[in-house]
């Protein structure tokens, strides 16, 4: 029986010498869901994944993977998961097909029909030696090996970083199918549109700390929509309203960002000014992301406190 959460990490610390790679990191992946794991380079995504795989030992904090301890029970737990590293390195003189079979066998079996199916979908030639593969093709080898397995948990570390847009689309379809089959996915990524398309929940980390986590709508709730309107009257008064930011007035056109909690009052004021047209854009994940990594966010801790850290 699977536990409710496939991955439960809380207060995870990991240092390399004097460098603190992970600092009180929290991460929860619910069974049967796709969780996005976002963060810039060097923020600790791969380190977290390696702790989850029992390749690195946690300094402190609790880490549960599929109900077990990833360091002590690595071998048993690994039968139930499949991993695609961010930078796939293969044995230069083995063919892609040999590598896929080897990884499958070491994991405890591979479905030949699915192997064939995914080779076709990813248009991968399994007879080529790995040394002749490009980065994208090496990634496809690891993806085919992972997707063709029957593992209940897939851990994917930036799996599309070498794929072209067509293959990215194939990958997106594959992950949707995996989810429909009730399997769990942890997807670390830079590509926000991918995470937006695929993920039920998102965890954003920075500098080894979790700064935001929740469902996409949870996170959007915390942020601002951009509003653009044409009004008859002078809109300067909007500036003094609570929750309104970055107000610009260009003739009759007024543009501003508004915190969702204040949307009602702001709309009320706007109506009073005589609205001729109104466009409101919900925040994209890009904006969420920029809020955490952009220059604007000097107060990361403030943002973090608004998040669901517990």
């Amino acid at each position: 029986m699977s536990p409710r959460n496939a991955i439960e990490v809380s207060g995870l610390d990991k240092s390399f010498g004097r460098f603190k790679a992970l600092d009180e990191l929290d991460l929860t992946v619910r069974t049967g869901e796709v969780t996005g794991f976002l963060g810039p380079n060097g923020s600790g995504k791969s380190t977290t994944i390696r702790v989850l795989l029992g390749l690195l030992r946690a300094d402190s904090g609790s880490v549960r993977l599929l109900g077990g301890d990833p360091w002590k029970e690595a071998v048993t737990l690994h039968r139930r998961l499949a991993y695609v590293p961010g930078d796939v390195s293969l044995w230069p003189d083995l063919t892609g097909g040999q590598a896929i079979d080897l990884l499958g066998r070491l994991r405890g079996g591979l479905d030949a029909r699915r192997r064939r199916e995914f080779l076709e979908r990813f248009e991968l030639d399994p007879t080529k030696k790995a040394r002749t593969y490009s980065k994208g093709n090496r990634q496809k080898v690891a993806l085919v090996a992972a997707l063709a397995s029957t593992a209940e948990l897939l851990i994917l570390d930036e799996p599309t970083s070498g794929l072209d847009p067509l293959m990215e689309a194939v990958f997106t379809d594959c992950v949707r199918e995996v989810k429909e089959a009730g399997r769990t996915v942890l997807l670390s990524s830079h590509i926000l549109s991918e995470v937006e398309k695929l993920c039920d929940t998102v965890t954003i980390i920075r500098g080894g700390r979790t700064v935001e986590s929740g469902t996409l709508s949870d996170l959007r709730h915390l942020t601002r929509s951009t509003v653009r309107a044409e009004v008859d009257a002078d809109a300067t008064a909007l500036k003094d309203l609570a929750g309104v930011h970055d107000l610009t007035i260009d003739g009759a056109t007024v543009t501003f960002a508004v915190e969702h909690d204040h949307m009602g009052t702001v709309l009320h004021e706007l109506t009073a000014l005589g609205v001729r047209s109104l466009v409101s854009n919900p925040p994209s994940l890009e904006e969420l992301f920029l809020r955490h990594y952009g220059d604007e966010l000097t107060t990361v801790d403030g943002a973090g406190n608004k998040g669901k850290r517990s």
């Binding site: 590293p85 040999q98 066998r105 994991r107 399994p126």
Partner: protein
Amino acid sequence: MSAFTGTGTLIRFALFRDRLRLAIWVVVLAGLTAVSVPTLDEMFSDPAERQARAALMDSPTGIVFGGPGYGLDDYTLGPMLVNEMTMSLLMAMAVMSVLHMVRHTRAEEESGRAELLRAGVLGASAQTAAALITLALAHLLIGGLIAASMVAFDLPVPDSIAYGLGLALAGISFGAIAAVCAQVSEHGRSAAGLAFLVIGLLFMFRVVGDIAEQGGNVWSWLSPFAWLQQARPFDDLRWEPLALYGVCVLVLFVVTYALARRRDVGAGLVAARPGPAGAGRLLRGVFTLHLNQQRGAIVAWAVAVLAFGYAFGSLTTEVAEMLDSAPELAAILGGDADDLVDGFLAVLTTYVVMAASAYGTLSVLRAWSEENAGRAELLLSTAVGRVHWFGSALAVAALATALILVSGGLGLGLGASVALEDAGWTWRTVESSLSQLPAALVFGALAALLLGIAPRLLPLIWLWFGYSLVATMLGGLFEFPEEFMNLSAFEILARPPMEAFETAPFLLYLGAVLLAGALSLSGFRDRDLVTA
């Protein structure tokens, strides 16, 4: 010529990149020689001692590591230097040449850096030319410094210059051989392996020729190892043999140029063919994977060591003959003919042990490169435990070491059996080589221990390995004190067939090796994996 456009820039670049590397080679090689001149002079100060030493150099072991033996009749400082130093210098220069050439040609292509350069204004043969020219500069500097140190010791100027120049030219020829090998093979590592194999064969040509006939026969003349001493510096100097180096370099460079024009950047001459679409039944575990990865190398080493053993083993007839015709030699060397055959085979067995331990260490270090490349991470993310993965790597390394050891012993034994017409030798030399098993395994075991506990200290392995090689090969010559000799891993056990096998030290040594292996497994289990 457009094929060489940009060579000048690349030369400056290579000199800049390798300023430290080349400086170390120059300082070490020239410095060691400069130090050896007075050392040898003092060590053999009286003429009787010198002639006794000359007699030793006329023995088969002396010929193998000395040369054809010009100037032995009047063994003054000049001939002594030529006979005692040349082979070690040439071997060191060969290593330097191969590493330098491969580093600046094939390894650059393999890494993709050559592509970046070749996309600029750069001729197809510019990299090879630049590598060879920088190598030539370094060798000429070494040769010049060595000649100068000889002249400084009042040795004749023309002979000193001929000797220094000959050394440099030989070094450049080894570089030209490596340049051809770098064209043929697609990978830096296999290009270097191929070059070392060719150079090893050329060394054997000289040994076979020099032993078969006083002053060498046609086999010797096929080898660049011979030409320097055939110029007879400090004996009866003739310059013509040195011209052979020029011809050799020129021919090899033209071959390299022709090969480079015929192929694509990054490609070898042998195109990669498609392989199997799936893994065979054998490739189902990490042990078979390790084996699969090293299959070619293990077979190549075993065959090379077997051939080496056979070639040298069959020289035992010459050993016996030489002693029959010169009984006084046996008296000088202290012992009868049988003892000398035993001694000769014991020395050769030690060389087999060195080869086997070198492979064993390299094999263990492969696990380290697998870890650094991220392939260990991929495997360990499957249901493979760490002890299983690392233990399999160690098992493959140990088995390969034992296999190479036995093939060397077998080769020696077969050669000796044929030469002495006594089949009993076959088993005896296999037994002798197996009696050194712990010494062959110890470097691999220590490499494993460091890998498991403190991988950053891994380079220390080569320090001890290098020391053990030098102490065992040259310790006798330079009369190392007993306690320094005992620091060599190859001096710890008795050396059959010269000495009697002793069980207790063998078991103790083997126990230490196994303990190191066990500790390395527990260390590897408990440490963080090194990740990219």
